[in-house]
């Protein structure tokens, strides 16, 4: 007898909180739309184009003959089909891994030199960031279709999935700790459940991306790296199989939507 009013009261307060949360969510969506409308992301694409065409390294050649999977020099739609298996390297590669491959093989640069500063700052964005912006932009409109058929692509997907759910480190986090439950957020940031296609698709279709909070262009390798930082883990090696496996798992899960990045994030 006594319980009923309490429940009604509780439900009532839940409903009000729900309504407030709903309007906050709509306002944040509006904010995200507005920042995307006035994003400086094209400036990164422009700089990336200049770097793509700039002769560099001992070979004094540009990256214009780099094969991103669709043939030497084919940019259009190439990003949308990454990560994928590359026979010449006998491994699955994401965008940055493949760019690095072209820098070392075509341009004759050392891996150390080419990876000296892969994540830039607001004052000095990195070569990888500019190039990622340019190459990704050339896939606008192309449906995301990463490699998922070759045995090594399947292997990368399977490993990525295990890593996604594996809890580790001093805080016992996995990717799923934050990206595992529908409708949750960290502070005001909505958290997509990246193991579900519906939530992964818009994410996959908009990375890499410009981040307005620190005026930096962020690559997918950075995204994985920074999640592990926040998970209080050690640092993953740049372009390691582990990072590519996670990106493969996320991209395959979220494939199918036309690419509309590089995106703009809060």
């Amino acid at each position: 007898m006594l319980r009923l009013p309490v429940i009604v009261l509780l439900l009532g307060s839940l409903a009000t909180t729900g309504a407030i949360a709903q309007s906050a969510k709509q306002e944040i969506e509006k904010y995200q739309r507005m920042i995307a409308d006035s994003s400086p992301v094209e400036l990164f694409e422009l700089q990336g184009e200049a770097l793509w065409k700039k002769p560099q390294g001992p070979a004094r050649v540009s990256l214009e003959r780099c094969d991103l999977g669709l043939g030497a020099g084919v940019l259009k739609g190439a990003y949308a089909q990454l990560p994928r298996y590359f026979r010449d390297a006998d491994r699955v590669m994401d965008l940055e891994t493949r760019l690095l491959h072209c820098m070392t093989t075509l341009q004759g640069r050392s891996r150390d030199e080419a990876t000296k500063r892969v994540f830039g700052t607001e004052d000095a964005p990195s070569e990888m960031e500019y190039l990622s912006a340019y190459v990704a932009a050339a896939s606008r409109g192309a449906p995301m279709a990463p490699g998922a058929a070759h045995p090594k692509e399947r292997e990368a997907y399977a490993l990525g999935k295990k890593l996604f759910f594996y809890r580790a480190g001093p805080w016992d986090f996995s990717c799923a700790s934050c990206h595992g439950e529908q409708g949750k957020r960290i502070r005001m940031q909505d958290l997509p459940v990246l193991s579900t296609p519906a939530a992964a698709r818009p994410v996959v279709a908009t990375w890499p991306a410009y981040r307005v909070s620190n005026s930096q262009f962020k690559t997918m390798q950075w995204r994985i790296n920074d999640c592990y930082r926040q998970m209080r883990m050690p640092e993953p090696n740049y372009t390691s199989d582990l990072t590519i496996a996670i990106t493969t798992y996320l991209t395959v899960t979220g494939r199918g939507e036309p690419y509309r990045g590089p995106g703009t994030k809060r």
Binding site: E27, I28, I35, I186, M188, Q189, V212, S213, Q230, R266
Partner: protein, 146 residues
Amino acid sequence: MNRRITLKFTAALAACLLFPLRAIAAWNKEAFQSKTAADALKGLGVGASTESKDIAIDAPQIAENGAVVPIEITSNLPNTKSISVVIEKNPFPLAAKFEFGEGALPYVKVNVKMGESSFVRVVAEAGGRFYTASKEVKVTIGGCGG
């Protein structure tokens, strides 16, 4: 390489030749260096102003980040000459003043920084009078904060 330098030089020269003098108004140091909204308005020469529904401000009610807050302003007042943007709680509240000549519609969209949640006040000058409207923007915290 040579061509690049020539191009750059030509562009720089062109910039100097085309814009040798300051245009209509020089940067209003007094107004921009004011630390309160009231002083900024005084510096702009804004005396009495009337609240007006003919100034439309489109800005997010909640900004996930204060580094970039998009603000879109349209004045529907006839003969709008200028639009000024004052962010009341910023250390230097005056953010921008736009003057519209013949050939420009009284509309502007700009991204501004906001140190904290604040009212954004817009002052439009039309027909020799000042009109004003404002909108509150809440600045929140987006991510993990680490």
